[in-house]
Each structure stands twice: as C-alpha cells, then as structure tokens.
C-alpha cells in the first residue's frame, strides 16, 4: 500500500472541504482498502468520515425512511421498519457479501463500491476505468461477469452491488452535500452512470461531494421480490439479479417496478418493460414479451453470452412469482 496522510473529519462540512482539496473518504473501508492494497487506488490523503453523525435511520415527514449514509448494511437489513416496509431492501442487502463485511460496509460506501472486473483489479493489465485511454482487456478476454446492457466500446464493467438494485426499484433518492454546503437529492437511477467514453466515472459525484443519506419514499403496495443468481449459494456477486415491486389489481398488473443487477455499469431499469406489463393479465407470453423488450439491445462478449438467456429466465420466473395472487387458475 502506498503511504497516505490520515485525518478524521469533525463534521460533514469539514469532510467535504477536505475532499474538495483532493482527499478520499473512508468509512467502512471494505472495498477501498482492498483496492489500496492492490494499488488499484492510491489516494494521497484519506479523510475518515466513519464517526460523523450519519448513522441513524429516521422517519421522513411523508412516511418514508431516511437511511443515514453511515448506517451499516447489517443495521439497515435488520432494521424492523426496513424489514416490514421494504423487505426487498433487507433481502437484497442480505444477499450480498458476508456477515463480517455487512457489519462494516456502509450505505453510502456501498453505493460507491467499484466494479469487480478482473482487469480493473489487475494493475498489469490495461483498463480504461483504472487508467483512462489504456484500453479494455475484458472486451476480448474473460468476461463472464461483464455487462450485456449499456456497455460501451471502452468499458464492459458491471456495478456489482445488490443494495442499490433494490433501492432503484424502490425509487430511492441519494442525498448529497457538496463542498459549497448545499444539499441536493438525486434519483438513484441518475446516481450511477453508463461508461460511455469516460468509464473512470462510476457515478455523478464530484470532488467534495459527500453522500449523507438515502431517502426511501413511502412504501408502495404490492409484492416485493429480490432474486439473485450467482456462482455460489452465498458470498458471491450477482451474475444477474432482479428487484421487483409488483402490484396486482384483481387479475391484472396494476404497477411494476423492476431493477436489474449484474447486467450493466449501473442498476438497470427499463420503463418500457414496466409499461408493457401494466394493465395486462399475467401470462408466460406477456412475460416473454417483457424479456424481449428488456434484452432487445443486449450484447454478449463471449464468456457472458449466457447472461442473455439467463436474464430472460430469471425475469420470467420473478414475474410469475410476483403476479401469483394465489387464486385458482
């Protein structure tokens, strides 16, 4: 690990001021320190935000929840309000990492975790995300875990997390305090970005920006499902995951929010897929059309070609479960 200066932030304003002067935030550190040991990341200055007063889950005026940026994954998943009102979020968090990591990983840090692309991690290899302009070895290399949607000619990395996928289906907002002291809310769908020509950028944060919370809107009606497919039964990243919130009205689909993990550089959401489902009676044919719509632009790169039929099957299975009202056929 390269040497760095360490300082503890006294409050959010101090943290954003230090970050604006080129310091890197550390909170749980589970991803950052791993990357620093490998020298994939080598910040000169770390500002420790782990003791800021951002570790509470509180009720919002409109009946939602405000999850402080330093609430650990464990505490968020175990919070009784989250479990009862947003079971999807508890399920998604519990599907990720290990007990030890969830005890350290924070809500804000989890949103910022980096891709697990093997070539990003291997400093002997070119990688446009790690070293812009150096090339992408994944494109024609081993790319089992890589993107099938929204990738670019410069990067096919995926966002690896589970939590943000659930938050995307729940229409969460990310609360960010800038170096100017202003706080802004960003819909989580706009927080992560596609790689395009600048894959070094994972998200919209700029120097000095501090995530202070994630805001969950009031709970919505309907069944909530998080389905994750991975290479091991536990403690592995998603090859494909689906977060679904589906409400039925009699025999028809009243509303559907669907977000996908493991497929793109960000949690993937396709409003056309959701629109196609709403107002219709559930059927295998309808679910097939939804999968066609979702995967119309999907592109495999060799080792990850399997993700296209896999995603189709996972989506159809989740929709089947989500729309099953228990009524006799």
């Amino acid at each position: 690990m390269k040497p760095f200066a360490y300082a503890r932030a006294s409050d959010p304003a101090d943290a954003t001021a230090q970050a604006a002067a080129d310091a890197t935030f550390i909170a749980g550190g589970t991803n950052l320190l791993d990357l620093m040991k490998l020298e994939v990341m080598a910040p000169d200055r770390l500002v420790d935000i782990s003791r800021l007063d951002l570790a509470e889950i509180t009720e919002t005026d409109d009946g939602g929840l405000r999850i402080g940026a330093l609430v650990t994954n464990s505490d968020c998943a175990a919070d009784v309000r989250v479990r009862q009102r947003y079971p999807l979020l508890s399920r998604a968090i519990l599907a990720g990492a290990s007990g030890q990591l969830r005890n350290k990983a924070t809500t804000g840090g989890n949103l910022c975790q980096r891709t697990r692309c093997y070539y990003f991690y291997d400093t002997a290899m070119p990688c446009n995300k790690r070293e812009p302009g150096s090339g992408c070895q994944a494109m024609n290399g081993f790319n089992r875990i890589h993107a099938i949607l929204g990738a670019s000619d410069s990067c096919i990395a995926t966002y690896p997390g589970d939590m943000a996928v659930a938050m995307t289906a729940l229409d969460a907002e990310v609360e960010i305090e800038g170096a100017d002291g202003e706080t802004r809310l960003v819909p989580i769908q706009e927080f992560h970005v596609l790689p395009g020509d600048s894959p070094e950028k994972d998200n919209i944060l700029t120097a000095g920006d501090l995530i202070t919370a994630v805001i969950l809107p009031p709970p919505v009606a309907g069944k909530q499902i998080y389905r994750k497919v991975r290479d091991r039964a536990s403690y592995a990243f998603a090859l494909c995951s689906v977060a679904a919130v589906v409400e039925m009205d009699g025999g028809t689909i009243a509303s559907a929010a669907l977000a996908f993990g493991g497929l793109a550089h960000k949690p993937w959401r396709d409003e056309d897929v959701e629109a196609l489902l709403v107002g219709k009676k559930p059927s295998a044919e309808l679910f097939g059309k939804a999968a066609d719509q979702l995967l119309a632009q999907a592109k495999g790169h060799g080792s990850n070609d399997f993700k296209i039929p896999l995603t189709r099957r996972v989506l159809m299975s989740v929709l089947q479960e989500a729309t099953d009202t228990g009524a006799a056929a």
Binding site: P3, S90, S98
Partner: protein
C-alpha cells in the same frame, strides 16, 4: 505515525504505527496477539475475524488508526487453556478443524453470529424476515459463509456451532 488507543481483551494499549497498518497487523505484529490469523488479507477468507464493539469484522480490511477508543475481542480474549469458551470447547468436542488455521476466525465469527441471531437478525435463507426461531444448519452455513475452511471441516464446524446456538439439525 498515528497514535491509537485500543482496548484489546480488556487491556488498554497505546499504539504508535503508520497509518497503513491494518487492525490485523496491529494485533499480530505490534501487540503480539498472533491468535488472529492472516489468510487472504483481502476480506475473502474470514481468518482475521475479530469482534469490535460487539460486531464481527474482517480485521484485515480496516485501519488500526480508525479504531481509536474501540474495544476489541480476539480469540485470546474468548477463553484460554483450562477455561475455554463454550464455542472453543464445542470445536474441540466436535473436531471442528483439521489444520486449525481458520479456527480463531471461525470461533470469533460464530461467537458474534450467535448474538446477531439472538437479536433477531434474519439472513438470506430466512423464510421470514422476522428472523428464525432456531438456527438450522442452513442458517448456520449462510451466516458463516464469510469464513472459509480450506480443510473443509464444515460439517463439524456446523455441529459445534449448533450445539452452542441450541439449533436443530
């Protein structure tokens, strides 16, 4: 150099160390507590698991200087020869190891995991998010998935943990 006050197994220590020193390296190399093991050093194997402020964490993935004032429990603090903790005794009784390298991490992890379950925390395999009534073998496996055993003593590790957790096979 950073100055950090750590309370390890009830004893206070004043650590003077480079900011890069992980909690794991501080315990082993600076405080001489070599019960905590370095396996992968990347948070993947769980051999370095210790209990910080009541929570199990990977000590390899955290900086010692971030733990100023924290109370830390390592395997040495759970029990000692002649006065083993319940889990330590159960690992012996059930032969929950072969080479033993992962064992301190397994036992620290399981010690805190049992408390998590008692607090009603659900897991990925819990049918009901209200949490399980008892720790089934499936629940134990899922909750312990952050601790690898290269000798694959898993069946006996589960037997040992189940005995202490009071779950049903």
């Amino acid at each position: 150099m950073e100055t950090t006050e750590l309370t390890v197994n009830g004893k206070s220590h004043r650590l003077e160390a480079d900011s890069r020193v992980t909690l794991l390296d501080a315990l082993r190399n600076h405080l001489g507590l070599t019960g905590t093991k370095k396996g992968c050093d990347h948070g993947q194997c769980g051999a370095c698991t210790v209990i910080v402020e009541g929570r199990r964490i990977n000590s390899c993935l955290t900086l010692a200087c971030m733990h100023d004032g924290d109370a830390i429990t390592t395997i040495e603090g759970l029990g000692e020869p002649g006065n083993l903790s319940d889990l330590q005794a159960a690992f012996v009784a059930h032969d929950g190891f072969q080479c033993g390298y992962c064992t301190p991490g397994q036992i620290c992890s399981a010690t805190a995991m049992i408390e998590e379950a008692k607090a009603g925390w659900p897991s990925f395999v819990s049918d009901d998010l209200a949490g399980p009534d008892a720790l089934s073998d499936e629940e134990i496996s899922e909750r312990m998935s952050g601790n690898l055993c290269r000798c694959a003593a898993y069946p006996n590790i589960i037997n040992a943990i189940r005995q202490v957790a009071g779950g049903q096979s």
